[in-house]
Symmetry: D2
């Protein structure tokens, strides 16, 4: 039998279920050299924790997450709680020498995120931020095409992540409407920014426009002011010279997963919309003019790791499958002691971008992105 | 801890992996009252069996499937072997009092399928045929809309299942090209027929047109004659008075999962194409003429059991998730002793339709579908 | 100034307007060596004729169409009346030595159509049947691709022409519901059949299924029996060996111009739906498997005669532009004394197919298509 | 016979042909109280003028456009020349009391445009700027839906006009690459801005980002510097409180007519892309959650003036048809002495927005849009 990595999950809500799904599926579909031993689930609501343990198959349920930190049999800590709690939990887990898989946004501030990334680097543990959309095989395909020159010189980029779950004015005030919880930019824009940098490399400057559409929302204590953006837009410059725009929007009526990228190069273009997430659209300038058009590539076994899920193209992987791919990548980073694909350093960088967009919007002018080295930042931040 | 159902899997290939995925995910995402205990995997190739046991988490690997039949700790037998082997395995499993989950097409002939269904009925075990596409929430949504009268009187139907995995003439001869293996009609048409009857009820007569496009294919012994259809078409009459057409096609260049239904009624229409399987398109005649159009409904948590997978609409369930839904439905039928959604009786009925289409094509004329009762059939078949 | 062809129009309704549009636009966008002199419009309703003359710019309005026949200054007679009137008008025009541009379906029967085609051939005048959809540049592009071998060996075809203008049971009985007026097969199926033969060549046999959905419709004299099909389906064999299916449907709720062709070959596939009529979708098997997909080719100036309308691709030609292309082709055939693209002979051939589908449906068996030579037919028909 | 408006056309190139098409078709499809008498076409290249006269049906061809101005029989002057020539021609035509139909962008500067608009107002003639896309019936439908409250409170807007005709670095330097000719913002952004204001009303401030991608282009004298933007982006504030973004891009590889608007309101959303210009997509929040989705409305006779072109929905109007609608609207404004839909005042306002975006981009900060009254502007501009 394969050796096991012990798993502790903090947060028994929806994202906790998704993490668990990731562990369960990853070990079935990937030839990992390890299996996952679901040890303990923690939730402040003990009933919730018990229900989750029973349903998800964790051996134990606890209400105090520190029991997970203290358990030497646990190797990986999954953090699926509101982002304002991430730092304390992650630092404790790191200090205990555990690998940490944390949902995004990583922290309420870049400074917190840097502290978390520095701690992990210092301790030598692996970390992962839940940028699950990047695990869609369309991303590795797109990157391969860019790197092979299929698009020529990249000139412009459009990135969107829009949904509509905050459209209703009477939707209640939550932690997401608090300045530390982050708004659409933090919740959705983090995905859009991660996609942009995955595909085109570092963003070097931003010009932001953050807008609050619904000024207050109901709370048990009456109407409460919304402190965050409902829509955030930014113009961006990439270090490679391309320019582009980003939009995060959680009041985009009718949009359920409009996570879009459009990349225009001198030789070709790529377009993807996650509402049809198993498709990548490619335009090739080198085709004869009377035969050219956007080509709808349906992901399939030629686009790894799709082949792990299904042997026929066009049969679709789903949202949860992305989580399994993410877990497998994380486990592989741990076992082979390789760099993580989307570790806390990446989470910190995205947080820097978010803060720069907010600052730019407040100032009404362009903002440069500072040096990305954690250590430079640490020095600069002193 | 929940009580367990012991599982034995026969066939360690791709569909076997898919079954295993179904068991693993079903117990994480559904609140089942049981869990699955993956006992034994059998494969004629013992190395395959061992690899599968290790990767999928089965406790034991065997090369003789009869060991699974003989194991009293096994409650469910999953059969994921070529369809010519189904009957022997299923009858043995049924005789041993086990519930049987068998891939489609159920058997090479309606008469074999009837025998299997009768055996299961006689023994009182539950059976399931792998019509996984029917587990897509678009189907229950479509059925609900039909039953609530959103389409009015149903008038016409188009059903297609087209893929392109046999386009290449040099693709080798396999068991699927043998008359008992079944051709496109059996392999893909079975899905198209199952969808048609799920949505509109029983088909009462057919007019078939079965065509072989690639006459012979390479085999180790040189070119070998293809005995089956590459394309099968049928006009159909439904018992409810609607008329329609069905096409199965495995040489449809460029089509990866063109499993399509189009339903036209007096008040509305529904269209679905599995290449965008998270969408159902609905046209409502009752809208004002200047506001009407096909509406692209993205499946979401309001379309159970999508909510088990994700709490946001439009985030996609995938091919393997359908298998988890299928397993959960089967387990529920077992535990609650309820009728199975797609049991061997349904598998037998689909096989009847397949044979009727083949017979109609050979005769060049309409063919009535005989009585569907297993017992009438048994008597008639004496 | 260019020499003029005198034009007389019979029928001042909608299709008459469309013909007029065709003349007006053709002379602006094509470098024709002639212009059109709109002489006379005839309509049984004299007020209608006058209104049309005024609005469309015809010099004269008459109520008796024979005045057009008798006018030596008229070179082309446009017939835009119900199809039961076509024969008498066309034969008179031909006898008077005029070129005839007649709406489809050409005649209520193949025998009538043959008589019309023979008369035109005998007199040496040019004829045109209004298969305007064939004038869409996607058709010449598709044909070019087929002829150049981009699709390899053609294996299967799907053709549909579906609309929804007869969905409502209370829509009144019209000449279209009379057996001589023709049903969906005649009105819409004629287009689907013309497209199929344009692309793949002659159909050699058919297996039909004609269905009446709404049995009677209101008339001034009370409910009146519908004598025609609302839905007609046919399986077809092409002389080139390909097989396919055709559907005509005027009760297809929600469909406005579902004129579809799908062509599957050994090397590629083509798909077109006139609801997006400026697009041709091409799948090329020769692309690398991880880069292949249906390519959405937007018609543009590289697809003549689109360039006559607009110099930028993707800017759309519309329904009426097809009529201008049709008129230009007809005028060119007249001036250069070249064969017409879609003359009465083609109209006769389509009518033969329609009758064969009807006969096949009535008999419930395959029907061969007879010899296409007008003279053979004439002899056979004696 | 109807009274005639005499037409003179300056510029015998592609847009000249399009204007002529507009005149020819408008009088056939609309019940105008006037007809158009195509008098004279002027082009600096006399051969061009002669060819155009012959092909388009103008009575005379001249090389000096002033002959058109001096001809008392000419009522309307169509200006289809490069935009740097518009002002002189338009002012002369206005001074001669003629109505002027001028292509966009109206002038190289807002100050020029204001002068032209003031001259027209002073003389009491009608003017029209060629914002032909606004003539698509989807626009009047969208506006009607917004005004009827179908979208609730409008919150956000995305506008794009992207094409790819400048992708190739070796495409030669033209007047469009000169600072007075205007770049992508002027050529394409003018359409995007006109659409935005048509739908949501005045823009009150902008934050621009204008980018030159191809720095120099070949000219007969060797490489010549490009003085304009290839991509222009802007964030915008509307006077009604909504926020949005605009992008103009003529290096958007693969895009042929990506003229897009997306409007998100509290109750609904509208999306349109001119690459499928006969469709408007509407999401209605008030639908039941399990039945809601973007609805693809195909334009048809219920969306005037589509009914003038075709009596069946979904049969498509094309690019040139928009020009006919534009001409009809202009002629109606002239005959009935009503305000023009898109007169020089609107052309001036769009030019103000273009300059504000350029200025904002240069300054790197938000720019307010000044008062729109021509007279205030005139005073302010003194």
């Amino acid at each position: 039998m394969k050796p096991a990595l012990g798993v502790g999950l903090i947060g028994a809500g929806f994202m906790g279920r998704t993490h668990t799904f990731g562990y369960a599926v990853a070990e079935k579909v990937f030839d990992l050299s390890v299996r996952f031993d679901l040890k303990t689930v923690a939730d402040v609501d003990e009933e919730n924790a018990k229900r989750a343990a029973r349903q998800f198959g964790y051996a134990e349920a606890v209400s105090d997450w520190r029991e997970i930190i203290d358990d030497p049999a646990i190797d990986i800590v999954s953090i699926a709680t509101p982002n304002t709690l991430h730092k304390e939990m992650a630092l404790a887990a790191i200090a205990a020498g555990k690998h940490v898989y944390c949902e995004k946004p990583l922290a309420p501030s870049a400074s917190d995120a840097r502290e978390m990334a520095l701690a992990a680097a210092g301790k030598g543990v692996k970390t992962q931020v839940g940028f699950n959309y990047l695990c869609n095989p369309v991303f590795s395909l797109a990157l391969e095409m860019i790197e092979q020159g299929d698009l020529g010189e990249i000139r412009s980029y459009r990135g969107i992540h829009a949904e509509d779950y905050m459209v209703d004015k009477s939707a209640p005030w939550t932690f997401r409407h608090d300045s530390r919880g982050g708004g659409a930019l933090s919740d959705l824009g983090s995905h859009a920014l991660a996609s942009a940098e995955y595909l085109l490399g570092p963003i070097s400057s931003v010009l932001g426009d953050c807008v609050t559409v619904v000024d207050e929302r109901p709370s048990p204590d009456g109407p409460k002011a919304v402190e965050v953006d409902d829509i955030a837009r930014a113009f961006v410059r990439f270090a490679n010279g391309a320019t582009g725009s980003i939009e995060a929007n959680w009041v985009a009526t009718g949009r359920k997963l409009q996570h879009v990228f459009e990349i225009y190069g001198s030789k070709g273009a790529l377009v993807c919309d996650f509402e049809t997430m198993n498709e990548l659209h490619f335009y090739d300038n080198r085709c004869a003019a009377n035969r050219s058009g956007f080509r709808r590539i349906l992901t399939g076994p030629k686009h790894p790791p799709y082949d792990r899920f299904c042997l026929a193209a066009g049969h679709h992987i789903g949202f949860n499958d992305l989580k399994a791919i993410e877990v497998a990548a994380f486990a592989t980073a741990i076992v082979d002691d390789r760099p993580e694909p989307f570790g806390f350093t990446k989470g910190f960088e995205i947080q820097m971008l978010i803060e720069a967009i907010e600052a730019s919007s407040a100032a009404g002018q362009w903002q440069e992105i500072g040096p990305r080295s954690l250590f430079d930042q640490a020095r600069k931040g002193q």
